[in-house]
């Protein structure tokens, strides 16, 4: 067994990628996990097993590729927002926000403060919902059906709030250039506070039934260990990176919107195994709840004020202002449809629930982008399977797959 790193012991002396696979040639048994396998997403992992040990793993992505980058080149600027949303519909605000910000950068405008808070509000609601979604999938991968239903049920609370705020359950299309589309409805912050308290209570239940459940701990501890240097080398992002002990979060290192004015922590776990990644997400949900509380306080203290940048809002006719005052709906100006963005290049990044997403946007002054390049978190995290699966048992595959919280549509774009 020399050269093989077992899932449970001896993970401290890992060497660099490639060092711990071994080939047995003909005796290997090749198993195709996916794309229609109940334990895979829209992807395939080809594993070669020697007995019960995986010796090679090849993630095979691209089953839900939708040519988003190319499609965006033939659409006017604003039409790409609903398009990019389809990468991760339950994380819609987080994945589209950097695009909106990049275009704002090119336009030379910035959203008003209230809009910034509203963006953070929806981003964190989305983040919690996405984490819960990830937990649900993870739970069922480990055969824990209660952990499948509970987070999905509790996610409904956040989806309900998002629907109230934006008018759609998932594809919110909330941030637009220069602001957001709707202001908080009356009574929203009260419901939000209740949801925060409810979620805190539920996290305790999750701890009891899942996180501290001895079966789950046995399944996860020491499994799927990503050493710190491997995580950096592969460019893993998000909770997975932080669970390996790297202090990097876009919200902290390159703060955007109002994140630098909010009081919250970036939890960083040192262990780097699947269990640390679970705890990492639990801690991040707690921090998101903290952010939401502050946002709710801010929103309560401040009166309704325009949520679109002046460049657009000053052209608003009286009807628009009336609708905004009465319904909190910021109507879009006709110019949005035919917006021309000045020549230039912009790069923006944001922290989604699964890690850093970055947009490179280039404009040649027309009403469509010249090029939009997206680098999504899941695409970066997916690489890790090739390097950490070998050496584990076949039954570790769902545990590792779930703990990375990989989301194929986001990776394939």
């Amino acid at each position: 067994m020399s050269g093989i790193v077992r899932g449970t012991v001896g993970f401290n002396d890992l060497k660099l990628p490639g060092a711990w696979t071994r080939k047995i040639g003909k005796d290997l048994y090749e198993v195709f996990i996916g794309p229609q396998h109940p334990g895979s997403g829209h992807m395939r992992i080809i594993i070669r097993v020697d007995g019960d040990i995986i010796v090679e793993a090849e993630p095979d992505m691209g089953y839900v590729h939708r040519t988003m980058e190319k499609l965006s080149e033939v659409r006017t600027w604003i039409k790409s927002i609903p398009l990019f949303e389809r990468m991760a519909i339950h994380d819609a605000c987080n994945v589209t926000l950097p695009y909106v910000r990049a275009v704002e950068k090119l336009l030379g405008i910035e959203a008003p403060e209230r809009a910034k808070y509203l963006r953070v509000l929806l981003c964190e609601i989305n983040r919690i919902a996405a984490f819960l979604y990830g937990f649900g999938i993870f739970g069922v991968f480990l055969g824990h059906s209660t952990m499948y239903m509970w987070p999905f049920g509790d996610r409904e609370v956040w989806v309900e709030l998002a629907e109230w705020l934006t008018g759609a359950r998932l594809t919110h299309t909330y941030p637009v250039f220069g602001g957001v589309r709707r202001d908080v409805p009356a009574g929203f912050t009260d419901a939000l506070r209740k949801a925060i308290r409810y979620m805190r209570r539920r996290l305790e239940d999750y701890r009891k039934i899942f996180v501290d459940n001895p079966v789950i701990r046995s399944r996860l501890e020491g499994v799927g260990y990503i050493p710190r240097n491997l995580a950096i080398e592969l460019g893993i992002t998000g909770p997975n990176l932080r669970a390996s002990g790297v202090k990097y979060d876009v919200r902290m290192n390159h703060p955007y919107e109002v994140y630098d004015q909010l009081d919250f922590e970036i939890p960083v776990f040192q262990e780097g195994d699947a269990y640390a990644r679970v705890l990492q997400r639990v801690e991040e949900i707690k921090q998101s709840l903290r952010i939401l509380e502050q946002v709710a306080d801010w929103l309560d203290k401040h009166e309704r004020s325009p949520i679109l940048h002046d460049r657009f809002w000053k052209t608003a006719p009286p009807l628009y202002k009336k609708v905004f005052q009465e319904q909190g709906r910021a109507k879009l100006m006709a110019v949005y449809a035919i917006l021309k963005v000045p020549k230039g290049k912009a790069y923006e990044r944001g922290e989604t629930a699964r890690g850093e997403i970055s947009y490179y946007v280039e404009s040649d002054g027309k009403n469509t982008p010249y090029r939009v390049r997206i680098h999504s978190a899941s695409a970066r995290n997916a690489l890790v399977y090739k390097y950490i699966l070998p050496g584990h048992r076949v039954m570790d595959l769902p545990a590792i797959y779930g703990s990375i919280d990989y989301f194929p549509p986001e990776a394939d774009r």
Binding site: V31, G39, G143, M149, F210, N213, M395
Partner: protein
């Protein structure tokens, strides 16, 4: 006329028939159907759902399982070209028969007239029969000629080696306590609330976990674990054949529960078998079935609470924790017998 009726009653009362067909097949099937419904309902309650409902809203979806059964029976049974046909078809059927066969060795009364077999070595016989059926799950997996099925079959094989000795040894703790293999005598030794679950809880615990291991109950639902091996050895089965496979596992768990009831939960006590068919045979078996059903419900509840262990962890638990415990339980039984507590 009365002659006919008497003859029919005679035939029904004939122990081998009654025991195998009614107590071995029909009653466990009814319990299994109830348990499947209960399992879904329990999981639903814990998971804050409603569970089966729309088929019969008045009785909380109680007919859902019958509906499923009907659907299964009318579904096309697909037999892939690449399988070994004879083995593919016969394996689940043999497994089904073998999983209900042990019922012939379980006494439901202490009136010798109603014994289907002589009871002198019934515990050994029951345990021997109960351990046969998993072999055919391996056969089914192998015959399917599918990678997931073969992996599932292999997992089953791994598990057999680890749970069999635990299950057998913890049941044999009762023999250590009473000095007999006769299940009737074992039940008799439990008169006056001296149930072996009280006298030797350790043995009951290991037997309980052993049963969970052997019948793919959570947290040891490993051989059919959906997210790695689709449906384990049964991946290629469809329609009624799949239903039989799944049913066989539950029937096996039911038989194990009956055995647990007889050995640890005082059998037909507090009832004392009396005279005649009703009080001598029917009533005691109902008591045993009720106890076994409660056990089944506890087994089912774990689905809502646990995930599944990894294969090597399950085997590790079996050998490193349960096996020593079983030996201790056996020793405890011997000690109790030595000091005459029994």
């Amino acid at each position: 006329m009365t002659g006919w009726v008497e003859a029919i009653i005679k035939i029904i009362e004939w122990p081998p028939l009654w025991q195998l067909v009614v107590l071995g097949l029909i009653a466990p099937l009814a319990v299994v159907i109830y348990i499947l419904w209960f399992e879904r309902k329990t999981a639903a309650r814990v998971q804050r759902r409603i569970g089966p409902y729309h088929v019969s809203p008045r009785i909380a979806g109680g007919l859902q399982l019958l509906a499923d059964l009907i659907r299964y029976s009318f579904q096309e049974v697909i037999i892939p070209k690449t399988v070994d046909k004879a083995a593919f078809i016969s394996a689940p059927l043999i497994a089904l028969i073998l999983s209900i066969l042990p019922v012939v060795a379980i006494p439901f009364t202490d009136v010798p007239k109603w014994f289907p077999l002589p009871m002198d070595y019934s515990l050994i016989l029951a345990l021997a029969l109960v351990t046969l059926s998993p072999l055919f799950i391996i056969v089914a997996g192998w015959a399917s000629n599918n990678k997931f099925a073969i992996i599932g079959g292999m997992r089953e094989a791994y598990l057999i080696v680890s749970y069999e000795i635990i299950a057998i040894l913890s049941f044999l703790a009762a023999t250590a306590m009473t000095g007999t293999y006769n299940l009737v005598d074992i039940v008799h030794a439990q008169t006056g609330w001296k149930w072996f679950i009280v006298l030797n809880p350790l043995a009951f615990f290991t037997a309980f976990v052993g049963v969970l291991l052997s019948t793919s109950g959570f947290p040891f639902e490993i051989a059919e674990s959906e997210h790695e091996v689709v449906a384990g050895a049964f991946t290629e089965y469809s329609g009624l054949m799949y239903g039989i496979n799944m049913g066989a596992a539950y029937l096996k768990r039911m038989i194990y529960s009956l055995l647990l009831t007889v050995v640890f939960l005082g059998g037909w006590y507090p009832l004392k078998p009396g005279e005649g068919f009703i009080w001598g045979y029917l009533a005691p078996s109902i008591v045993i079935f009720i106890k076994a059903t409660i056990l089944m419900m506890i087994f089912s509840f774990f689905r809502a609470v646990y995930g599944r262990y990894r294969l090597d962890q399950a085997i590790e638990i079996a050998w490193k924790i349960l096996f020593p415990l079983t030996v201790i339980a056996f020793g405890l039984g011997l000690l109790e017998a030595y000091y005459g507590i029994i």
